[in-house]
């Protein structure tokens, strides 16, 4: 007999709760794992998607997934009612705690609310071979999701420098589009 309580549940629709109780589940191995494993999943996924849908579409999927992750990350971890400086400060702490990267703001335009920000030691790309190609499409979506939830505005985030393009930080232009 089907479980009536879970009739609407599917793992394909993301819910923060569905990340599960990692601590309880990984009593011996713990909540952390090597970055290598994270990248293994990312790049194999990218490989498969690129083969099936082409590089642009694959990057777009990564961006959308990142956007969903960023939105949910803020909703479930941060207070969006505080001032921008306080929000950024808390976000920086959280990104370090989760070992995602070191977020820093380089510019903030008071008039347009456009932002230039960097992520150092980025989880996705730091240490990659230089390919002259920005690769942090997931981060672009992740940051856009965060900014959209906090500001209520619509941001387009574009990576302009990357470890893979010879820089030592990933630099993103976040532009308000609506």
């Amino acid at each position: 007999m089907a479980n009536i309580f879970n009739k609407d549940e599917t793992i394909h629709v993301f819910k923060w709760e569905n990340l599960g109780n990692i601590k309880e589940g990984r009593t011996d191995l713990g909540e952390e794992m090597p970055v290598l494993v994270y990248r293994l999943m990312q790049f194999t996924m990218l490989d498969v998607l690129t083969k099936d849908f082409g590089p642009d579409k694959a990057n777009e999927y990564f961006r959308r997934a990142g956007y969903l992750a960023g939105s949910e990350f803020v909703k479930n971890n941060l207070d969006t009612s505080v001032d921008f400086s306080v929000f950024v400060s808390k976000l920086q702490e959280l990104l370090i705690d989760y070992k995602i990267g070191i977020l820093r703001i380089e510019e903030f335009d008071d008039v347009t609310n456009n932002i230039v920000l960097t992520v150092a030691q980025d989880l996705d790309c730091s240490g990659l071979p230089i390919t002259n190609e920005t690769v942090c499409n997931y981060d672009e979506g992740f940051l856009a999701g965060i900014l959209d939830v906090y500001t209520g505005a619509k941001y387009k985030v574009e990576e302009i420098e990357c470890w893979a393009t010879g820089d030592r930080v990933c630099r993103f232009n976040a532009t308000v589009t609506g």
């Binding site: 400086s85 400060s89 703001i105 510019e107 230039v116 010879g166 820089d167």
Partner: protein, 433 residues
């Protein structure tokens, strides 16, 4: 053949030597004269061409990185970076990213965002984080201080409103005077609102100045009363004096109340309680009160018991109006004993006079009374023939009380009364004549 080989070898050696010189000079220029640095690959032998290209590429990266470093060192954070594949510039890009973030952080601090923390750049981070922490603490301290000042200002504003309201509404005149220089520092009303006459004002200030100069700084409040005299009459004041600090001055706050009406009312009450209505002399109650007080205080004084002669006759024959005139004339006469004597009417035709030794010497009292008696006799009303219509006279008895006295007032008064009767009896014949 050997000569040919030798010649070729010498030529190769020269070619290698020229190539080495060219590369040496190029490397030297790269370091010391980068603007002049150039390497002509055509001077290199064919087998060194690839190496020469690598050397040019390597030195190009080094020089680009150096130029980039120079621009960054000049603070040009928007300097164009070298080509992306320039590995040497990567740490410089890292530094530039840190400096750009630091610039943003400094701007945030300038806007008051003291949550900014630097987590890179070693000792500088410690200094920066200490600075923001101290700024944060200072702002909190200032905010607390400002909050406290705001509360105090609010309290003072309210107090000031209350103060002005009280000052404006109370009828008392409050004057603050500089204790040292006598300057008037504050008045709640123009003094003329309170004073009966403007001419009082100078008088008032000279009185207050005297008070102010006789009060020590920090002395507790003191109270007094005084009277001002002018053409229009008397004005009585009570004054409470407070030694205070006023706007950096040692000052005295004088709270003045016009008690003229109260004083007049008190005088009226006193008159009603202590005076004989018809004569204005003190009444029996007051006379006995003074008698008791002086006896208690062991004063040396004379008790004079006075009885009017023939008042009943005057009342019966000439009417009470004439009797009252007679009584008033006796009262006026007794006032002549001494301005300080207490003349009280005990009732009907009896008076008691109390006179202190310092005002009327005991041994001259009888003599003094005899003279007054003679004046009274002479003042009797006359008919057209100059004959007395009725005789006027008094009888008196005197008892001297001094510090050795142990008799109660009642006994002393009886003694004076007995002496009066003896006097009356002795002079009865004289009166009949």
């Amino acid at each position: 053949m050997i000569e040919d080989q030798t010649a070729v070898s010498a030529e190769n050696n020269k070619e290698v030597s020229d190539a080495a010189d060219a590369m040496f000079n190029y490397l030297r220029d790269v370091i010391y004269h980068p603007q002049d640095a150039s390497l002509d690959l055509s001077v290199l032998p064919s087998e060194m061409q690839e190496f020469g290209e690598a050397l040019l590429f390597f030195c190009g990266m080094v020089m680009d990185a150096k130029t980039y470093a120079i621009n960054i060192s000049k603070g040009q954070l928007d300097a164009v970076p070298p080509a992306r594949d320039n590995e040497f510039s990567a740490p410089l890009k890292d530094l530039l990213a840190s400096l750009k973030h630091l610039t943003w952080q400094a701007k945030q601090v300038a806007l008051g965002d003291y949550q900014q923390k630097v987590d890179f750049m070693g000792e500088f981070s410690v200094a920066f984080n200490d600075m923001t922490e101290q700024l944060k603490q200072r702002r909190e301290a200032l905010a607390n201080e400002a909050d406290e000042v705001r509360k105090q200002a609010l309290y003072l504003e309210r107090s000031n409103i209350l103060f002005k309201s009280i000052m404006g509404n109370i009828s008392d005149l409050i004057i603050v005077i500089d204790r040292m220089h006598g300057d008037r520092l504050f008045t709640n009303h123009p003094p003329k609102n309170v004073l009966a006459s403007e001419t009082f004002e100078d008088q008032l200030y000279s009185v207050l100045l005297e008070y102010a100069q006789n009060i020590e700084a920090g002395e507790e409040a003191s109270t007094d009363s005084f009277t001002l005299i002018s053409d229009t009459g008397l004005q009585h004041f009570s004054v409470i004096l407070y030694s205070i600090r006023w706007d950096g001055h040692d000052a005295v706050a004088c709270v003045l109340e016009d008690i003229t009406e109260e004083k007049e009312r008190m005088d009226e009450l006193e008159n009603a309680a202590y005076r004989d209505i018809m004569t204005g002399a003190y009444n029996r109650h007051y006379g006995m009160k003074v008698f008791d007080e002086w006896a208690e205080a062991k004063e040396k004084f004379s008790v004079i018991f006075v009885d009017m002669d023939m008042l009943k006759y005057v009342n019966d024959v000439f009417g009470h109006s004439e009797g009252d005139t007679y009584i008033n004339s006796v009262n006026a006469l007794l006032g002549g004993i001494s301005p300080n004597a207490i003349v009280s009417r005990l009732g009907g035709d009896e008076f008691m006079v109390l006179a202190k030794e310092e005002d009327v010497a005991a041994d001259s009292v009888s003599e003094h009374l005899e003279k007054l008696r003679a004046e009274l006799v002479a003042s009797a009303p006359k008919d057209e023939n100059g004959k007395d219509i009725y005789p006027r006279s008094i009888s008196f008895g005197v008892v001297l009380v001094d510090e050795t006295n142990e008799l109660p007032p009642a006994d002393l008064l009886s003694m004076a009364d007995e002496r009066m009767y003896e006097y009356k009896k002795a002079h009865k014949k004289e009166r009949l004549n």
